[in-house]
């Protein structure tokens, strides 16, 4: 005899109407999709003056880069928050992107600028990502693989990691021959206005690969959000699942950092907004919402920066400013609770 026969023997079943649980987020997501399509169309066509042969490939690659970065930042932040069990952290706050910059620097330092600049950029990128996966995997698995640690400890560790990686990278950059430093500078000063076009297709491939992996373990995300103990009770191999997710996060952070440089607070902005707008905890909704909002902000923001400020200000300053405010608000609210 199973539980249901046991239970039904004691009480009669009452029929209740089936709920349409997903109608609200679905409608909102559809609306968000329309907005995203609109902003992309606007970006492609605004002030094109009929030079389609030039505009389409030029702006198309730009859109591709923005979409890749949006996707990478949004997905990595949402999943990082799920793994670490809070809404205040993001990979960048824990020093992921600083680690990537350090790896870039060490590589130039070790190979010498000449070798680094003649090395195939795609190959170099893949090497950097591989090293990043290795180190981030080891470091962050140790932090998140076991019992859940306190937010205070994580924030502190994140600050220490960030400062450590950044200052080590800074020191090495100063040790490099000034002439050779120019090579590194090209790499390190990637931004929304001057992203690295060489890496676009490799980045796209990495993002697709990572997404396939995530798709296959997608059913575990909601369970992970319940906390380690509940997840283990429900049969999840917690350590393994967390490791896989951290590896994909490391790849995504590498991609966005290589394309446009470090983005610290933006992920926080879109992840928290996604939870607000979607009104559900389910990742199958939260993730598309976060990606959609992220694209909307970055593409829309880039358009504003290009047309209003005529490139005089950087998009990262704008999105970081907004994201930073969200971070401060979250910290204050978290302390108040």
């Amino acid at each position: 005899m199973s539980l249901d026969t046991f239970l039904s023997s004691s009480s009669t079943t009452t029929k209740r109407p089936r709920r349409l649980t997903f109608s609200r987020p679905a409608k909102r997501l559809f609306f968000l999709g329309l907005l995203v399509a609109g902003v992309i169309t606007l970006f492609m066509t605004l002030n094109s003056r009929g030079n389609w042969d030039f505009v389409i490939p030029f702006r198309g690659t730009k859109i591709l880069a923005l979409v890749l970065v949006s996707y990478a930042v949004a997905v990595s932040t949402v999943l990082f928050q799920t793994v670490s069990g809070n809404r205040i952290l993001a990979p960048s706050i824990m020093g992921f992107d600083a680690l990537y910059v350090l790896i870039q620097t060490v590589l130039v330092f070790a190979l010498g600028a000449h070798a680094a600049s003649t090395l195939n950029p795609q190959l170099r990128f893949v090497m950097e990502v591989a090293i990043m996966v290795l180190f981030a995997g080891l470091l962050y698995r140790w932090l998140f693989g076991g019992t859940r640690r306190s937010l205070h400890l994580l924030l502190l560790v994140g600050i220490i990691f960030g400062v450590l990686f950044r200052s080590t990278a800074g020191m090495m950059q100063r040790l490099i021959d000034p002439n050779e430093f120019a090579v590194l500078q090209d790499m390190l000063f990637a931004s929304f206005n001057s992203f690295d076009r060489n890496l676009l297709w490799v980045s796209a491939a990495l993002i697709v690969g990572g997404s396939v992996v995530l798709w296959r373990i997608g059913h575990t995300f909601d369970i992970l959000a319940l906390g380690r103990e509940t997840a283990v009770n429900l049969g999840l191999n917690f350590q393994r699942t967390v490791t896989i997710i951290l590896i994909v996060i490391a790849i995504f952070v590498s991609v966005s950092t290589a394309l446009v440089g470090p983005v610290t607070f933006f992920g926080l902005l879109v992840a928290n907004l996604a939870y607000q707008v979607a009104g559900t905890y389910k990742h199958r909704w939260i993730l598309p919402f976060a990606v959609g909002l992220s694209i909307l902000f970055l593409v829309g923001g880039q358009m504003v920066v290009e047309s209003l400020f005529s490139f005089n200000t950087s998009l990262s300053i704008v999105v970081e400013f907004l994201g930073g405010i969200v971070f401060i608000v979250l910290l204050i609210r978290g302390v108040g609770r």
């Binding site: 539980l3 239970l7 009480s11 809070n86 997608g218 059913h219 009770n233 429900l234 049969g235 191999n237």
Partner: protein
């Protein structure tokens, strides 16, 4: 059967579970009693592989809990923890549906939803199934977590203080549900209880723990007596036979 062999847990130098060896027979209710800090929760966490042990072995139906695949074990053994906190904002129904994850892997079938409905019904939660957990009273929330564990429908059910926050009526109802699950479904139920009289009235077997060790174990009749109670809890306890049950009186 759950076989606990020389299980030990230490934090730094402090040994909190000290070489516990115990066999919990299949079928029936086993209650673990003992003072605060005796190591009851720690032992239960190790049995359910939530906490790694420093030494020893736990076998559930012959499966070693530290090496058996998590999802295999999740269909055989479930645990309700002493304090449950969930970060996400879930409704009662969402929470209970998670209890089916070991079977559904996130895609509940009609069969799974039937289990969910039954568990809600059984714990008297139907009227609040769409409410958020953080908007419930402590006892209502406790019942929601119990419903989730029942929904997992495992042969072995471990519960750390399932009567937490429950009023008299719901506490008795809960013990009756567990008793029936043991009698009719032959489930093996292991409870940590602080109310020794509930342990006395509903268990087949009582284990008393103190200072990380098993002080004694046996039938309620053997364990609930003035001597043992005084030994374990270090207070004076009078024990009387009322309607064939041993009742401890310790309020004054």
């Amino acid at each position: 059967m759950i076989e606990i062999k020389n299980v030990t847990k230490a934090y730094d130098k402090a040994v909190v579970v000290d070489g516990v060896t115990l066999q919990i027979p299949a079928g029936g209710i086993t209650s673990i009693i003992g003072p605060n800090g005796a190591g009851k929760s720690t032992l239960l966490s190790m049995i359910s592989r939530l906490l790694p042990m420093n030494g020893g072995q736990v076998l559930v139906d012959g499966l070693d809990v530290t090496t058996t695949a998590g999802d295999v074990l999740a269909r055989r053994l479930s645990i309700l923890r002493q304090d449950n906190h969930i970060g996400s904002r879930l409704t009662v129904r969402d929470l209970v549906t998670f209890g089916r994850y070991p079977y559904s892997k996130g895609r509940p079938t009609v069969e799974d939803l039937k289990h969910v409905r039954m568990a809600l019904q059984y714990l008297n939660l139907e009227s609040m199934s769409e409410r958020f957990l953080d908007e419930l009273s402590g006892g209502q929330r406790q019942r929601a977590f119990v419903a989730m564990v029942l929904c997992q429908d495992t042969d072995y059910v471990l519960m750390d203080e399932p009567l937490n926050n429950l009023d008299m009526k719901h506490a008795v109802a809960m013990m009756k549900i567990l008793r029936r699950a043991a009698d009719e479904l032959h489930k093996t139920i292991v409870l940590v209880l602080h109310d020794v009289n509930f342990a006395s009235c509903y268990s087949d077997y009582i284990v008393a723990m103190k200072d990380g060790k098993i002080a004694c174990h046996g039938s309620p009749y053997d364990i609930i007596n003035a001597n043992v109670m005084c030994n374990v809890y270090e207070i004076d306890v009078a024990v009387q036979d009322i309607d064939g049950k041993r009742i401890a009186i310790y309020y004054t």
